[in-house]
């Protein structure tokens, strides 16, 4: 009797396991997965938080949740490589533990983003606070460049202090938290020298990570040609590519031509990052660049208090700008998934290979009459705009704009 019972139980369990072959199946969407060279109508199956299969006609009879994605794009969850998310309430601070940084979860999933990389808001002195305060609390995966300045991005005063730029301690901190820290950031230095860049590269060499450079404000202005061809290493990142402000050399010259050494630098392996922000995306720089074939390597927002409600808005708005400038969906998605994953040395992210963490975004591409603003408030008309329908983080639905993953209300058993 016991044996029969056991057998029955065993069979029942087996059935149960079979009954849940997949947790989620996303049916019939246009899958764009640049790492795997996919751009076709396919189904995506998720099991235990991982991508289980990407194939045509995955049977749905054994799936717990089926999402009909006909007419939609299905991509790896986006990686926003330039954000400021070390939020806090130190009212004297600019970004580090300050009100200028934003809690990530309110901006990520609704824009298809599943991973953000904080761009040096913390330094070795306050990274642990950042980890406790943001990284450990967020649902979004939060990675970080740490500033070469120990105090992080506390203020422009602190950013001038060469005595607080310690490559050894910076490299130590990266080693201690190598799971979260992906590189070193240099920013907002006003001196007439490359010292902070050199220190950042020194730390980068010690820790084996790339350096991200926000190269403005030097007085007098310093040459970006020297920066690209002599100071940075292949794989290092130049952010705010399309800025146009004082003391910042531009990539496009006064005759609207991309400077020849820019192509040379890109070929050398310098990574050009958008870092839109509140002041670093100017149509006069962007439009000639794209027309002349100088495309950004990574598309990122530079999300913070002063960009969120301005021309930047969010990642889908930013990707839409590049679509309207003629870049393909594949190009745009590649530059916000697999490209940044490689740049930050996280090859496990940014793709839909079976076994990968199931970070997935589902987008609708709207046709219509849209306007897109740059950081100076100039507007360009466009006909395409992305909207995030659904986002999965580690297999869990974390954003569902129109309820694609849930049943109709009148199917709920009515019991009052």
């Amino acid at each position: 009797m016991t044996r029969i019972l056991s057998l029955t139980l065993f069979l029942w369990c087996t059935l149960l396991v079979q009954g849940q072959e997949y947790d989620v199946v996303i049916k019939g969407g246009q899958v764009i997965d640049p790492k795997n060279n996919l751009n076709e109508l396919l189904d995506v199956a998720v099991k235990d938080g991982k991508v289980a299969a990407v194939a045509a006609n995955i049977p749905v009879s054994n799936a717990t949740t089926v999402i009909q994605a006909q007419g939609l794009y299905v991509t790896p969850g986006l990686i926003d490589m330039h954000t400021h998310v070390f939020q806090g309430t130190d009212v004297d601070s600019y970004l580090a533990n300050g009100l200028g940084s934003l809690p990530p979860d309110g901006f990520t999933f609704r824009a298809g983003v599943t991973t953000v990389v904080d761009a040096g808001t913390s330094g070795w002195r306050n990274f642990r606070q950042f980890k406790h305060q943001t990284i450990d609390q967020a649902q979004t995966r939060v990675l970080a460049f740490i500033s070469i300045v120990g105090a992080g991005m506390y203020g422009r005063l602190e950013a001038q202090n060469l005595n607080d730029m310690d490559p050894v301690l910076t490299a130590f901190m990266i080693d201690l938290y190598s799971e979260h820290i992906v590189g070193v950031k240099k920013h907002h230095y006003r001196g007439d020298n490359f010292t902070p860049v050199e220190r950042a590269v020194e730390a980068g060499n010690m820790a084996g990570v790339p350096v991200m450079v926000d190269f403005g404000e030097h007085d007098p202005m310093l040459s970006i040609k020297t920066l690209f061809l002599e100071k940075l290493r292949p794989g290092d990142i130049f952010t705010h590519t399309y800025s146009y402000t004082n003391n910042r050399e531009t990539v496009v010259d006064e005759n609207n031509q991309v400077k020849p050494f820019i192509f040379q630098a890109q070929k050398r392996g310098i990574i050009f990052d958008v870092g839109h922000g509140g002041g670093s995306f100017i149509w006069h720089q962007v439009v000639p660049s794209i027309k002349q074939g100088f495309l950004p390597d990574v598309i990122s927002t530079d999300l913070h208090f002063w960009s969120m409600n301005a021309g930047m808005k969010d990642m889908t708005n930013l990707l839409s700008k590049f679509l309207n400038l003629g870049m393909t969906m594949e190009q745009v998605i590649g530059r916000s998934t697999w490209e940044p994953a490689q740049v930050i040395q996280r090859p496990q992210l940014g793709h839909l290979s079976p076994g990968a963490e199931a970070d997935i975004a589902v987008f609708r591409l709207h046709e219509g009459d849209f306007g897109f603003m740059d950081a100076r408030g100039r507007m360009m008309k466009g006909t395409q705009k992305l909207e995030t329908e659904l986002t999965l983080r580690a297999g869990k639905v974390v954003w569902d704009l129109n309820g694609l993953s849930v049943p109709a209300w009148d199917t709920e058993p009515l019991k009052y």
Binding site: T89, G106, Q137, H284, L404, V406, W409, E412
Partner: protein
């Protein structure tokens, strides 16, 4: 000498006259459909703004009179929206709302949803309000008002939040007196005990301060009908359509709105949506609105656990009611003039001449949309409200499609 005087006068005239020549208005919103329930307006009109105030609302205002003109054709022009139920006392504390991670930053969610005023629903109490004021209220661009929790430390969770000895009438009243413009009422929320003391104290504070009581009904031991009976006209009941487990639902076994709830409404108690992460269910909302039990206000109960769930934002909630059959001006009223009256801030929530120029330009999108409730069920609908442009105090704070921007010329 006369010549000199003449030239001096000409010179003075030259200096003085440009302001007289200059345009009469800073900003003109032209061609939209103005929906201003307080003033019974729902028709195509132009709105002119000067020095941060509404200066004129009429048809065919000459565009030459304004420095900047917004083409609002096809859009609704509404007073800036008021969200009467939020949790925005954000800060570094783990696992709680008061100065913690469970709250969210107001500016992250306001302007992009047409909101210019948020009312915090008692995340702070008399002890923590000063911190809330300096760290969030004063540092935000959104206008933040607040109900003050009867629990002194505010929403710090059990057991602190339920500590009877920390519920002090005098101390709470003192803080309300110090910030009479910002604090709009008293709140009683989370209390699992059997004592009526917290509720009575909160009500006492509200009575003495001559302000409303905001009842967030996580009070499982206190019977609904008794709560409603004790509440006064003008007090606010939230989580109206929630199939919550810590109080009676508002419908009886046959799906009829409870008589005690109908009585309370007739008495003048306000019912707020307070959607949140767990307090709005179509299985209650649908039968309720079919019995004309519409909400007075569209409070979101914005916090970390509602922002990415079925709630999303206030326009999404308003769209739910629009698709459930509530008419458009009524939906707008429940997000502007109604909440303004509920919090006794009649200076807000309308476009009367002289009012602060808080304006929301809203597009009614047509299409196929889905709306999710807190139970994970959806309603499909064909209308969705979307925030195109938001103005606070005459200043543009959100501009989705660059309506106010100059075009880029290559």
């Amino acid at each position: 000498m006369f010549e000199l005087l003449k030239y001096s006068l000409i010179l003075v005239w030259c200096f003085l006259s440009p302001p007289m020549w200059a345009q009469q208005y800073d900003l003109l919103i032209k061609g939209g459909t103005v929906v201003d329930p307080k003033n019974n307006i729902f028709e195509p009109l132009d709105v002119a703004i000067l020095e941060g105030k509404i200066q004129e609302v009429s048809s065919q205002i000459d565009p030459q009179t304004a420095r900047q003109v917004l083409d609002a054709r096809g859009l609704l022009v509404s007073p800036g929206l008021i969200d009467v139920h939020t949790h925005v006392f954000v800060g570094g504390r783990e696992g709680i709302f008061a100065g913690g991670f469970y709250s969210v930053s107001p500016d992250d969610f306001s302007f992009r949803t047409g909101i210019t005023t948020m009312v915090d629903a008692g995340t702070s109490g008399w002890r923590s309000f000063p911190e809330f004021k300096t760290k969030v209220i004063d540092a935000s661009q959104t206008r933040i008002l607040a109900f003050l929790n009867i629990a002194g430390a505010g929403m710090i969770g059990k057991p602190g939040e339920e500590e009877l000895s920390d519920m002090e009438i005098e101390a709470t009243l003192n803080i309300i007196k110090q910030y009479p413009q910002t604090i709009v009422g008293a709140k009683i929320g989370h209390y699992t005990g059997e004592s009526w003391e917290p509720f009575d104290k909160a009500l006492d504070v509200a009575r003495q301060a001559k302000k409303p009581l905001f009842l967030e009904c996580h009070l499982p031991q206190l019977p609904l009908d008794q709560l409603l009976d004790k509440m006064r006209p003008g007090d606010i009941f939230t989580h109206t359509y929630g199939a919550v487990d810590d109080r009676l639902w508002l419908l009886d076994a046959n799906g009829q709105v409870l008589p005690s709830v109908q009585d309370a409404r007739e008495k003048g108690i306000y019912f707020d949506v307070g959607h949140g992460g767990g307090s709005f269910h179509f299985k209650l909302a649908q039968p309720a609105v079919q019995q004309n039990f519409y909400p007075h206000s569209m409070g979101t109960d914005l916090h970390r656990f509602s922002m990415n769930a079925g709630m999303k934002n206030m326009l999404n909630i308003m769209s739910k009611f629009l698709n459930m059959g509530m008419d458009l001006p009524a939906v707008i009223e429940a997000a502007t003039w109604n909440p303004a009256r509920m919090i006794l801030r009649e200076d807000l929530g309308h476009l009367s001449i002289g009012a602060e120029a808080d304006v929301a330009l809203i597009r009614v999108r047509s299409g196929e949309f889905g709306f999710v409730d807190a139970g994970g069920y959806k309603l499909t609908g064909d209308k969705l409200l979307q925030s195109e442009l938001t103005i606070k105090g005459g200043k543009i704070m959100w501009d989705l499609n660059g309506l106010a921007a100059k075009p880029f010329k290559n």
